[in-house]
Symmetry: D2
Amino acid sequence: MIRVFVNGFGTIGKRVAFAVKKQDDLELVGVAKKKPDFKAYIANKFGIPLYVLNEDQIEEFENHGIKVNGVLGEALENADIIVDAAPKGVGAKNKELYLKFGKRAIFQGGESHDIVEVSFTAQANYRQALGKRFVRVVSCNTTAMARVLSELRKIANIRRVRGILVRRAADPWETKKGPIDAIVPSFKIPSHHAPDVKTVLGDLNIITLAVVVPTTRMHLHILNVEFDTRVDVDSVIDVLESAPRILIVPTRLGLDSTATIIELARDLGRERNDWYEVLVFSDGIRVHDNERWIEDAVHQEAVVGRENSEAIRGRVKIYEDGGRSIEKTDRSLGILRRL
Amino acid sequence: MIRVFVNGFGTIGKRVAFAVKKQDDLELVGVAKKKPDFKAYIANKFGIPLYVLNEDQIEEFENHGIKVNGVLGEALENADIIVDAAPKGVGAKNKELYLKFGKRAIFQGGESHDIVEVSFTAQANYRQALGKRFVRVVSCNTTAMARVLSELRKIANIRRVRGILVRRAADPWETKKGPIDAIVPSFKIPSHHAPDVKTVLGDLNIITLAVVVPTTRMHLHILNVEFDTRVDVDSVIDVLESAPRILIVPTRLGLDSTATIIELARDLGRERNDWYEVLVFSDGIRVHDNERWIEDAVHQEAVVGRENSEAIRGRVKIYEDGGRSIEKTDRSLGILRRL
Amino acid sequence: MIRVFVNGFGTIGKRVAFAVKKQDDLELVGVAKKKPDFKAYIANKFGIPLYVLNEDQIEEFENHGIKVNGVLGEALENADIIVDAAPKGVGAKNKELYLKFGKRAIFQGGESHDIVEVSFTAQANYRQALGKRFVRVVSCNTTAMARVLSELRKIANIRRVRGILVRRAADPWETKKGPIDAIVPSFKIPSHHAPDVKTVLGDLNIITLAVVVPTTRMHLHILNVEFDTRVDVDSVIDVLESAPRILIVPTRLGLDSTATIIELARDLGRERNDWYEVLVFSDGIRVHDNERWIEDAVHQEAVVGRENSEAIRGRVKIYEDGGRSIEKTDRSLGILRRL
Amino acid sequence: MIRVFVNGFGTIGKRVAFAVKKQDDLELVGVAKKKPDFKAYIANKFGIPLYVLNEDQIEEFENHGIKVNGVLGEALENADIIVDAAPKGVGAKNKELYLKFGKRAIFQGGESHDIVEVSFTAQANYRQALGKRFVRVVSCNTTAMARVLSELRKIANIRRVRGILVRRAADPWETKKGPIDAIVPSFKIPSHHAPDVKTVLGDLNIITLAVVVPTTRMHLHILNVEFDTRVDVDSVIDVLESAPRILIVPTRLGLDSTATIIELARDLGRERNDWYEVLVFSDGIRVHDNERWIEDAVHQEAVVGRENSEAIRGRVKIYEDGGRSIEKTDRSLGILRRL
């Protein structure tokens, strides 16, 4: 059993923690929280050992009715590997701590590629990351593109990718973030996603551009892919359908928006109505001239949670083969291969 | 085993159907759908017999990859009781059909009180509805108010209630309804909710007013309650805390908006992230002069689903006592009495 | 000519400045800005002298293509009276500066009542504020309630007011503020508005409660007013119709939401599509038992801009009579008495 | 003086009518309305003769306090040219009427290209449309793309255009349209815009794709343009800066979203806060490899209103030269060439 500690228990951290709990080869030794909010209550409720950052916080948590198991240092001592799920940028500082305690660690996409040896997406470069001490699971947007593009280039060489990311502005529970009624383009071209995809897939001619819109549910990706040779729609469908963690959703059933896709997750009884899979709209796969267009939806809260299981196993070489780890994780979590 | 058929498989119908499936004294004989959308797919997926309205629709459904078990008439024949979950106003027409087939039926809050013998909220007037042939489960807003007010009048006589309903504009999956950026007041004073509450609670001096706002998550109720005598905050908390299907949420944990409350449902692993309970904000219970103010959140999709189980049992007198039926339903569905 | 300086050029400041420019007895000597954004560009564009907070900022502004006329101290020297339109709380600090320069000043509703001699709404207590050195124009919500209630109590003695404020979450241009899809109640009962109304109207039995919703256009107020005697709808309509800065909008023309009301402002050619008036929905004036209900919409950006003209004149006793100042301002700005 | 009648007085119709009123060579003989709403009130208020569709409607309008000048047939008789601003698809039916009355007519972008001789954007193909009897002013999205692309191909031959349209879901006053919290992609590739652009610009290798998002303010266009030769950013800026009805907005001043751009329109005192111009973000013009990326914002309500003036003049050959008509219109309406 690998003893895993999750440092941070927000949108990503809580998903990693619950996923780890379900793996029979991993043991969750605890999570760390900074604030005594309802997520801390959830840790208590589900019997997850809860650690605070320092002694001073213990009283504050207890005043809010939250039980605390100890402080961060104690927990790190006791773990084999740390999944860092701290807010953007904090992970870089935490790395010093992990070095001091002599632990392996996995960072999230908010951190820079520079602080790790390998940036990681399970189905794209599991082997490359094998045994590395510090690995970064890339962001939800990058993970989704890395998944889809790593599959597409099995069909033929990709000459050029243009990706437009229509991004959700906030997570569902974040009541302070906007905009309420505006489109906010980003002006960085390429946006950070294109270079980020290359940290996983290596050389690839890709450009990305992101736009923020007032929704909380999912991102929408529009990918324009040029292959070296003509590729028909069926080949694209075949390779995506047989890939793990990518699902084709039948648009004809009214699954034609991010909102109905999330409703489907609720109806299917998915935990937290999460989609770990990238969801490609069946009517959103089109060929025009020599270009393929793909529209897919990305559940920003959930996509990377699963990647962390593989990242953990790869750190300690439980599986040499990423496919077997993916299969194991996906079976334990009810990830679908086909609707 | 009572054989239950659910006519309609939308927001309410699907919740009633899944709740019925979990009761050991009820048998779900099927559901009816009008359109071959993803909800029909869900019926197939979970092995729920699916009926269409007429022979013509069978081919349309099959062309969409949906299996059909038969047409409505066949299903009605085979049921002891019908839960009508058709769109607003259609239930009134369906009643003719139920009369023709000689069946008992339960209608939803979109229908008029005139078409039934009793309008119903389990914890308010279970006994009154006992054995009646046609019963109406009132709407989510009315159910929530009936629950809270039926409990509050156990403390003391209520002189006057003023209710402001800040209503969600659409359900999460409804992408065609607005507004996007506006407040739309209703000008009917009282709104239909006040008379509707009286169909359940009988004589009560209540006035309500509703406002629609651009959100999909929950309604917010602001109740201003005048008692005949002075009532302190603790009495209100006590009676609400010990009541079924009402929960007090600790605002101090960041549970201070409809969005964080829904996030809590997700974290708790609630099916479809549903709150069957009315959620009273702990910091939203206040006394000022001789008036009590209560702010609660109402999950419009989920609140009435559970009421239907009691409505079913009450039709066939399985339980003389509503409390026992409520307990049975709530145990089977994981409804909480306290966070 | 009174020389007026406006310290701050945001939502309120720019409206005050443009209103001052249109008064023939007031002279706008300049405005101050902290950031070189498009509002600074607007000052340049319309020939309004622009001042920065300190010497260091001059270069930053010029690098953004903005011309600067000087620093704050120079401008204060040159003014008879300051309208402080700084962000919430900053006004209190600025007061030290105004004292140092020996100037009169008008503060906005974000500041505390404690820092001024009188809190002010033109049609409610103009005379009371006459000649005072430091006056506060109360917030948009408070101003709107003070206007309506000061008129209503001309009909009869008010026994009790309950006000529910359904508040817009951000101004139209604020892209960082949320929520996007949530209702966020406040739990302070009364909210700060009730005591604030009393700073203007004196003794009044009022309680208020505020809820934030995801819109940018206007606030909606729901007022429940109990009079000592029976008051019919016509009396309410009469007094509101003949009052300045209150308009009754005919709901029957589709003016039934905050969005259509703003559209009307655009169609009428109102500057910035601003409503300086409180807009009472004609169908939102109702009598029920002994209570009157009034629903009105409040343009958060615009309502208080006009009050500042009266506040300025009252400081230097140009008019002993608030009504004459209101008339003068309103004529110059195209404020309507009737649609 | 050309006598112009505007059939329809909604979002487009009212803008066309007000623009016509300001032209000294055009006379507005009236507008037609179907419903007695606040837009009818506006016609009355500004002295615009108001016509209804048939005799039966006169009483309905008068009951709403709206004065009516006559019925549609009378107005058509009296006009030289009709601008049809009826809802999508109704124009095709109205054409019969215009033929019957022997009138020239201009249709809007909701109608099919098939019902006219020429589809039109003033600065792209004014001459081609000259003297034609039936002309169509294309939709806001198409007009914006036609403007920008007709200018860009002055620099060099365009090899390929890919356009992603992030569309607003409703106009500001439309309270019934959603979505509230979802992204709704369209799956038609190309969307109708690409062929529509070709009806104006002729042969052009263009593909477009549209996505609907929950905002009311403006569309955002992302154009990816490949030229035959290398083109630098400055050439793009130069040609767009010197083009009519295209403005470059300085992102550095906080003009970095659709919301702040609309706020600028308000601050500039633009009628209805309208942007007739296409607004290109200065930081949204980028070169990457051999491709140019352009991000611009399109005010869906306002962009086409001005085109109609040219369309009118072109019908009756007042000006042989579109540039002179554009100049005349733009001067009368305060359209900017540069911020």
